[in-house]
């Protein structure tokens, strides 16, 4: 498309945009479209959907506001950004909610059609922010988006309601113009999505183009921006969310191990998407069972594992609590299952759609008896793919349950992922036992792993269960010495995993004054915070833990080389507690539980505070 170049184009390295409106305004869709188009231009990007737990909260209220933040860049980035440079606010409630989060002087695009007295009242505003001076200092673009959309679609043969619903595409069109993005990917997507409703596709395309041309022809926007493609390693990329990566990772684990994939799961936010994805992959032989409750989700997975499947169950915090007893059964029967916990804000129902890291201790210790399990944590959306494979590999090799922790932020957030070829992926298998000669259900290999003998195999008939088992024979045993031995074997099995995983790698100097230790979904924030602190001259190193039980075998050494250890976590200090008790080291905690990722600056300030506020 030819630009008339009447508007100056400013080149930027990084932009953060927030699309915000009512839940019914289609902001998640708008944000996703903008992300996909932006990704296809080769920008690095990171997204953060922020939506309410209520499916349809009262229209126009603060509770009903749904936001989608994304940051895109010409350089390598790791987070969805602290403060947006641009806010698109479809109503006063959205403006009110996100105004405090955006940069001073940011651009704000508002839909003036929804700033009537009634709208202001729903947002609990005493005066109109467009008139009362509260937007002084911002670049405010007032656009009657609803009116313009109606006008553009006046010839479309769709209902008045559908016309109004198309207004998000008008807004998207304006943003495409503002940031020099092409409309084609979205047009293609609309044609595909609404192939059975061509009128809707047509209306949305019209609205999109109307928005774009509005930007192009009116003089209202003073600047256009351009963000050059990032210099990412060569390869084929796709945009991926953590939940999709998790699902595909398990399919890959199934293919690479030759074990059928079984998922037993009960719907729960924010983990349900993994079930949605996996249930589609029936042609991979994936069997999904939507269970009657969380307990049946894991119990059925244990049954499937007994039957020789790569068996998993997916859930979020409260669901993990319900699965506790059955997880202990998997420990006792030494069956390989993977439990995925997409962590959300707790306790209890807590903040279902928000992120947190507060289930670490639950994953580590939340069972009766001495009941060790392997605990892994994915660090970014695409890392979920590799960690799902790794969790499967460990479960089957060591015949242990593995808990894989992700969180609402990386589960729903997306990033570009350089897609690996099947041939680059590891193959792994724990062969099923078939030889009846000398078979003992609890005999041990070099990893202390017991044979995986499955029903249907002639001559290996045996019984397992939750009662303590005699080592080797697997018969029920109440012998004091045997129980002591078995408790220790189960623990040692987990410890042996440390010999099978990679050492932790220090980012920065290998010794010094300060080491930042993170785990799980905070990887992006901590990487940027440390990078920026270094840019300001501070000497700080960083490690990120993806294996928590067991820890990488060199972790103790790494920690011992630093004077101070800062452990930022979105909880009250759970990893800190484990590090302190495991290595007898002191840690400095940094804890914030806002249901959101850390702000990069908050962490950076903490680093500077520890290092004396000076960069000498």
């Amino acid at each position: 498309m030819e630009n008339e170049k009447t508007t100056p184009v400013e080149s930027l390295d990084t932009v953060t945009v927030m699309f915000a409106g009512d839940s019914g305004d289609g902001m998640q869709l708008t944000g996703t479209q903008f992300s996909n188009t932006t990704a296809s231009l080769g920008n690095d990007l990171n997204t953060l959907p922020d939506y309410p737990a209520e499916i349809r909260a009262p229209i126009g209220t603060i509770y009903g506001v749904s936001g989608f933040q994304l940051k895109f860049s010409s350089t390598d980035i790791h987070t969805p950004g602290d403060s947006p440079d641009v806010l698109v606010a479809m109503n006063p409630a959205a403006l009110k909610k996100y105004l405090p989060t955006i940069k001073k002087g940011a651009a704000i695009v508002v839909n003036t059609d929804s700033f009537k007295a009634k709208d202001l009242k729903l947002a609990v505003l005493d005066s109109n922010p467009l008139e009362d001076g509260s937007l002084n200092g911002y670049k405010v673009y007032e656009v009657p988006i609803t009116t313009l959309t109606k006008e553009a679609l006046k010839d479309c043969e769709i209902s008045a309601k559908d016309v109004v619903r198309s207004k998000n595409f008008f807004a998207l069109g304006m943003m495409y113009w503002m940031f020099s993005r092409p409309m084609e990917p979205t047009i293609k997507w609309l044609d595909q999505k609404f192939k059975n409703k061509p009128e809707i596709a047509k209306a949305n395309k019209k609205a999109l183009k109307a928005g774009y041309y509005y930007g192009d022809t009116t003089e209202i926007f003073t600047t256009r921006y351009e963000v050059q493609p990032a210099k990412l390693p060569a390869g084929t990329y796709r945009s991926i969310s953590g939940n999709e990566a998790t699902a595909i990772g398990f399919v890959a684990a199934s293919v690479q191990s030759g074990h059928q994939l079984y998922l037993g799961s009960y719907p729960i936010t924010p983990a349900s998407d993994i079930l949605h994805y996996l249930t589609k992959y029936k042609n991979f032989g994936v069997k999904t069972f939507q269970a009657e409750d969380e307990i049946a989700g894991i119990a059925s997975a244990i049954g499937a594992a007994f039957g020789g499947s790569l068996a998993i169950t997916t859930t979020s915090g409260p669901g993990l609590a319900l699965k506790t007893e059955a997880a202990g059964l998997a420990v006792m029967t030494e069956l390989p299952i993977v439990i995925v916990n997409v962590q959300r804000g707790g306790p209890s129902t807590g903040l279902p759609t928000k992120t947190e890291q507060a289930d670490l201790l639950q994953a580590m210790y939340g069972r009766n008896g001495e009941s060790p399990v392997a605990v892994l944590a994915a660090s970014t959306p695409s890392d979920c793919f590799y960690m799902a494979m790794e969790a499967s590999r460990i479960a089957m090799k060591f015949m242990v349950p593995v808990i894989l922790l992700t969180d609402g932020y990386i589960a729903n957030g997306t990033e570009p992922w350089r897609v690996p070829h099947e041939s680059e992926l590891p193959k792994f298998n724990h062969e099923l036992e078939t030889n009846p000669e000398g078979f003992q259900p609890y005999s041990r290999d070099e990893n202390l792993s017991r044979p995986w003998a499955t029903p249907g195999t002639p001559g290996l008939e045996h019984r397992i269960g939750g009662l303590e088992k005699a080592n080797i024979t697997g018969n029920v045993s109440y012998e004091p010495e045997n129980h002591d031995l078995m408790c220790k074997i189960r623990q040692e099995k987990i410890e042996k995993i440390a010999l099978d995983i990679s050492d932790v790698v220090v980012d920065g100097e290998e010794e010094g004054e300060l080491l930042v230790v993170g785990w799980g979904g905070t990887s992006g924030t901590l990487t940027e915070a440390v990078t920026r602190a270094r840019q300001d001259g501070f000497k700080v190193s960083r490690i990120h833990l993806k294996y928590i039980n067991p820890f990488p075998k060199n972790l103790g050494d790494v920690l011992s080389k630093f004077d101070k250890i800062l452990v930022p976590e979105i909880n009250l200090g759970q990893l800190s507690k484990i590090l302190r008790s495991t290595y007898i080291v002191d840690t400095i905690q940094f804890n914030k539980m806002r249901g959101l990722p850390f702000k990069i600056n908050d962490v950076k300030e903490k680093i500077e505070e520890i290092l004396g506020g000076s960069n000498d």
């Binding site: 296809s40 080769g42 990917p185 493609p229 390693p233 390869g235 084929t236 990329y237 796709r238 945009s239 595909i248 399919v251 890959a252 059928q260 079984y262 992959y281 029936k282 042609n283 991979f284 032989g285 069997k287 069972f289 269970a291 009657e292 409750d293 307990i295 049946a296 119990a299 059925s300 997975a301 244990i302 049954g303 499937a304 594992a305 007994f306 039957g307 020789g308 499947s309 007893e325 059955a326 202990g328 059964l329 350089r418 897609v419 070829h421 099947e422 499955t454 029903p455 249907g456 002639p458 001559g459 008939e461 045996h462 019984r463 397992i464 269960g465 939750g466 009662l467 018969n475 029920v476």
Partner: protein, 345 residues
């Protein structure tokens, strides 16, 4: 529709199903009879030994798998149906059996029970109903009669009991039957029929607990009374009972009623003919409630058996259909699906 079970010529005997573990139920426990009848029936089912699996929960009855030389899984309280469900889905050629008790299945495992029935998961479920908690030493159970005095109900329990066959019928189990430990021949027949049923087979077995609830079923099992207190359901046969076989059941509206065949007022033609395969579960439901009425005999036998696609068949069919449509899954294409773009070095 047939079971996906290999029907090979095999010479298995009851001994082949006896494990090397000492049986540790109390002397005189009704569980011994159930174990013996299962071991007698299993060799006759035409299923290879390695394809039998017993799954149990917690309770006296749940020790059952240890005594069977088959694959077995003694799991946790109430969860046997869920574990069996996963196993059967993963491995549909297995013959999956659940041994459970009235506490295990009707209380803590109630949710798994009704959903396994509703989904018609292809498993065989034997409920050892002794109307008491035995392993925890004598508390009233969800099937104990109201007013029962136990350790946890010293002034009499104020709970209304579940009627397990009603619950199974209400949950749409496709095979619902009842037997008792002291009638081994009939029990064998019911185990055999459950074993041959395709779909969720629920068999309630009245089982005497000699320690905590002895003689709970005496009226139904003792020579002097049983002919008058029990009635055996047989498909397509009139519901007649009594020592002299001189009594029958008629339906007055929805109410079953005992009538005499001796006084000439009623003949055999007036008596309900039992129809196991009735499409509607209503009649079976009425029969299942005869147990609760002291004026009516307690029915034994098959209340209902209907055939419909099992969960396992439906899932396998769906996998086949989707695979035919989309082709066998290819990991490389899955990895590179969605919107991809190239970054050049």
């Amino acid at each position: 529709m047939t079971n996906k079970i290999n029907v090979n010529e095999m010479k298995l005997t009851p001994k082949d199903f006896k494990s090397d573990q000492d049986v540790r139920w109390c002397p005189g426990c009704g569980d011994y009879s159930i174990l013996a009848q299962v071991q007698r029936v299993f060799p006759t089912l035409g299923i290879e030994k390695e394809n039998f699996v017993w799954v149990s929960g917690i309770g006296c009855s749940s020790r059952f798998p240890y005594y069977m030389d088959t694959y077995g899984f003694h799991s946790i309280h109430g969860r046997a149906p869920a574990i069996a469900t996963g196993l059967k889905i993963a491995h549909p050629e297995l013959s999956v059996w659940v041994a459970t008790g009235d506490g295990d299945l009707m209380s803590i495992g109630g949710n798994h029970f009704i959903h396994a029935c509703r989904k018609n998961i292809d498993m065989k479920m034997l409920l050892f109903n002794n109307e008491i908690y035995g392993l925890t030493k004598g508390q009233y159970s969800p099937t104990s009669e109201r007013g029962k005095i136990t350790k946890s109900s010293p002034y009499g329990s104020i709970d209304y009991p579940f009627n397990p066959t009603s619950l199974a019928l209400g949950s749409n189990a496709t095979f619902v039957a009842r037997a008792m430990d002291r009638d081994p021949k009939h029990l064998q027949k019911m185990i055999e029929r459950a074993g041959k049923h395709k779909g969720m087979a629920f068999l309630e077995i009245y089982q005497n607990c000699v320690i905590f609830n002895d003689k709970a079923f005496d009226e139904l099992t003792e020579k002097e009374t049983k002919a008058e207190t029990t009635i055996y359901l047989e498909h397509d046969k009139p519901m007649i009972f009594g020592k002299e076989r001189d009594k029958g059941i008629i339906l007055e509206g929805f109410e079953p009623k005992v009538v005499s065949l001796k006084d000439g007022k009623y003949t055999e033609d007036d008596i309900i003919k039992h129809n196991e395969t009735d499409e509607s579960p209503v009649r079976a439901f009425i029969l299942s409630h005869m147990t609760d009425d002291p004026n009516l005999p307690t029915p034994f036998g098959v209340f209902r058996q209907v055939l419909k696609e099992t969960y396992n068949e439906a899932l396998e069919n769906q996998i086949t259909t989707v695979t035919e449509k989309l082709g066998k899954g290819d990991l490389e294409s899955l990895l590179f699906s969605g919107n991809t773009w190239e970054v050049k070095g």
